[in-house]
């Protein structure tokens, strides 16, 4: 190895320009692979963030009509759930992370001073704030169990709705009239890019405690029942059990998956995740191909060097160089070019991507979808592995050709 190193240092003194060009091509390839992968990573994270903005491992159910006969009753019966069913399920399925019901009043009159708008008002439980990602802008809060127990007249506003009513004014603490009943605004939702929407975007509704809703509107019939599991893989079993519990209570076949029309967001997110992953793999392949082109460049130059140094190699063989002393410097040279180029490329990519992390993507429809390009350790690892492989191969094949040189043939002729 010492001999190889010595020979390598001796030969690398020459052709700095060529070395520079080769290193630059590898750096370029590395930058491309890193940018593409970081773009993919940003997209994936944004996908996941947007998906999570509706909720984590949740499933949404709309009470509908039975499609199977059950205990002598014909299909086509409507299923009705009320706020009581929320407690009923919560008691019987303690394994769930949360259970909540939503009661809705569409086109409700919302008035503040001279300003009047028609909006959607949702009655639900305090746990909704966390489960459905209704985080409050600083200075406000979502309503809590106390508000619910006391049937307090408090309202939490979606950010778009708040803007419609209050404009630039801070709504928190103001009094809003819901169907002429005064409510105190206790919070405004932090803006989010929502991918899974049902009923309407969260930014456009007003949320109040279900107890208050029942008192005000005189209704407790659920529009929607939402359950949340701790882990995504628990969802299928949870839905089965839920139908058994509610099926026996409300008299429908537990295998009738139409009685409660169900949107299993966990399943949808899995698909989204796979799409994002597929996209990232695709981008990665493009990046790897770019890098391979750089590697071919290195190999090409190394082949040229071998050809150019044929006589030199023959002389070294005549002087007693072993095969590995002939091949070693070439392999090392290929590796050094690749690794130096790779390191330079990584640095450049880092310098390019880091400022992108501070890009203001909020409120920009395209960027909110694309997300910010992000470099992760995994990306670095993949790139380093690809670089190492390409570097080794780019040196190996030319070295093999060098080793095949017949010293007698190269020294025989002038």
């Amino acid at each position: 190895m010492r001999v190889v190193l010595h020979l390598f240092l001796q030969s690398s003194r020459i052709s700095r320009k060529r070395a520079f060009l080769t290193i630059a091509s590898i750096a370029w390839g590395t930058v491309s692979i890193l940018l593409l992968l970081s773009f993919g990573e940003g997209l994936k994270r944004q996908f996941s963030k947007n998906r999570n903005s509706t909720g984590g491992n949740i499933a949404v159910m709309w009470p509908s009509e039975t499609t199977k006969s059950w205990k002598g009753m014909p299909p086509g019966r409507p299923i009705r759930l009320t706020l009581d069913d929320v407690d009923y399920v919560r008691e019987r399925m303690p394994e769930l992370r949360s259970v909540l019901g939503e009661v809705v009043s569409w086109r409700t009159n919302l008035a503040y001073g001279p300003k009047t708008v028609n909006g959607r008002v949702l009655g639900t439980q305090a746990v909704y704030g966390e489960t459905r990602r209704h985080y409050a802008v600083a200075g406000g809060r979502f309503f809590n169990d106390g508000d619910e127990a006391e049937k307090r007249r408090v309202v939490f506003l979606g950010d778009e709705l708040a803007k419609d009513i209050f404009g630039k004014e801070d709504p928190v603490g103001r009094t809003l009239l819901l169907n002429n009943s005064p409510f105190t605004v206790i919070g405004v939702m932090v803006h989010k890019r929502q991918m899974g929407v049902y009923g309407g975007p969260d930014e456009n509704h007003a949320v109040i405690p279900s107890t208050t809703f029942k008192a005000l509107f005189g209704r407790d019939r659920l529009n929607v029942l939402v359950i949340e599991t701790w882990q995504p893989e628990e969802m299928a079993g949870a839905l089965k059990r839920l139908n058994e519990i509610l099926g026996s209570k409300h008299g429908y076949d537990p295998t009738d998956d139409r009685a409660l029309a169900t949107w299993n967001i966990v399943k949808t997110s899995q698909i989204n995740r796979n799409v994002a992953l597929g996209l990232q793999i695709f981008l990665g392949i493009i990046g790897v191909l770019t890098l391979v082109i750089g590697g071919v460049g290195v190999a090409n130059i190394m082949f040229a060097v071998v050809k150019e140094r044929t006589r030199e190699i023959g002389v070294k063989m005549a002087l007693g160089a072993r095969t590995s002393w002939i091949t070693g410097p070439f392999v090392l040279e290929g590796l050094v070019y690749t690794l130096v180029g790779g390191a330079a490329g990584m640095l450049i990519a880092l310098l390019l991507v880091t400022p992108l992390g501070y890009l203001p993507i909020e409120k920009n429809a395209v960027l909110e979808f694309l997300g910010r390009p992000t470099l992760s350790p995994a990306i670095g690892f993949v790139t380093a592995a690809v670089l190492g492989l390409i570097g080794t191969l780019a040196g190996y094949f030319p070295a093999r050709r060098a080793a095949a040189i017949d010293p007698a043939a190269t020294l025989r002729y002038e």
Binding site: V3, H6, L7, Q10, S11, R13, I14, R311, E312, G314, V315, K316, M317, A318, L319, G320, A321, R322, T323, S324, W325, D406, P407, A408, L411, R412, E414
Partner: protein, 251 residues
């Protein structure tokens, strides 16, 4: 002599013992028999000149002697060691320790200094860096280039380059120095210089085998072997401790 004999005893002083050596180049379409049965013995301390017209097989013979190539047929003992069935790396080691090469076209490595050129075989021979440097400097001083150690080959004259090549060839104290037309690319003055260097080496006890067209150089040899058409056809000037041995019929 019979082929496939038992290894020749090194004690007889034969540095080179070739028995019935044949070399056939077969390119698929053309089959050239470059050597047609060579028996040759070179003993320690001899200065043998091989002469013959071009195409006679001189260079092929030198490649075989130098272990750069292997014979198609026949037995070859270098310093008593049978050179057959050795791996590439073993052959490389044999070349490194036993043989020193001097070429017509010098074949110095152009990017490195004279000193580094001379160090090269020492590097392959596993000599540690400090000793390597000392030995290389000593060899260059011996050929009168003590003041050219840090010069690159392109900064030297032809005669100087060939002297560097000789220093390089002798660095590992080989059993034999092989030179292929060492004065072929030199003017007569430089050629004369090189001849003197060879003569000095011989006087100091080295074994030399030189292929040459140069009558002046051949005259200095202790023995001349003439090759023609792949066969040894004659010899004269028997010198040194041993007589010429060849089995080829005299014309």
């Amino acid at each position: 002599m019979a082929k496939d004999v038992t290894p020749a005893p090194a004690a007889d002083g034969a540095i080179i013992r070739m028995e019935g050596i044949r070399k056939v180049y077969d390119t698929g379409t053309v089959r050239v028999e470059a050597l047609k049965g060579i028996d040759l013995v070179v003993r320690k301390g001899e200065f043998v000149a091989i002469v013959g017209p071009s195409g006679s097989g001189k260079s092929t013979l030198m490649n075989l002697i130098g272990c750069l190539d292997t014979p198609t047929d026949g037995a070859y003992f270098l310093a008593g060691e049978r050179v057959a069935g050795l791996t590439r790396d073993q052959l490389a080691d044999v070349r490194n320790r036993r043989v020193g090469f001097v070429f017509q076209s010098f074949n110095l490595l152009p990017q490195i200094t004279s000193l580094e050129n001379v160090e090269m075989p020492l590097l392959f021979g596993g000599v540690p860096p400090k000793k390597r440097r000392e030995r290389a400097a000593e060899m260059l001083a011996k050929v009168g280039l003590a003041d050219r150690m840090d010069h690159k080959p392109t900064e030297l004259s032809g005669g100087q380059m060939q002297r560097v090549a000789i220093a390089r060839a002798m660095a590992m104290s080989p059993d034999i120095l092989l030179a292929d037309e060492p004065t072929g690319n030199l003017d007569s003055t430089s050629g004369g210089d090189i001849m003197s260097v060879f003569a000095d080496l011989w006087r100091q006890g080295s074994t030399l085998l030189v292929i040459t067209h140069d009558a002046g150089l051949a005259r200095r040899a202790s023995r001349v072997v003439e090759i023609q058409d792949g066969r040894i056809v004659g010899g004269s000037g028997v010198g040194g401790p041993a007589a010429i041995e060849f089995s080829a019929p005299h014309p």
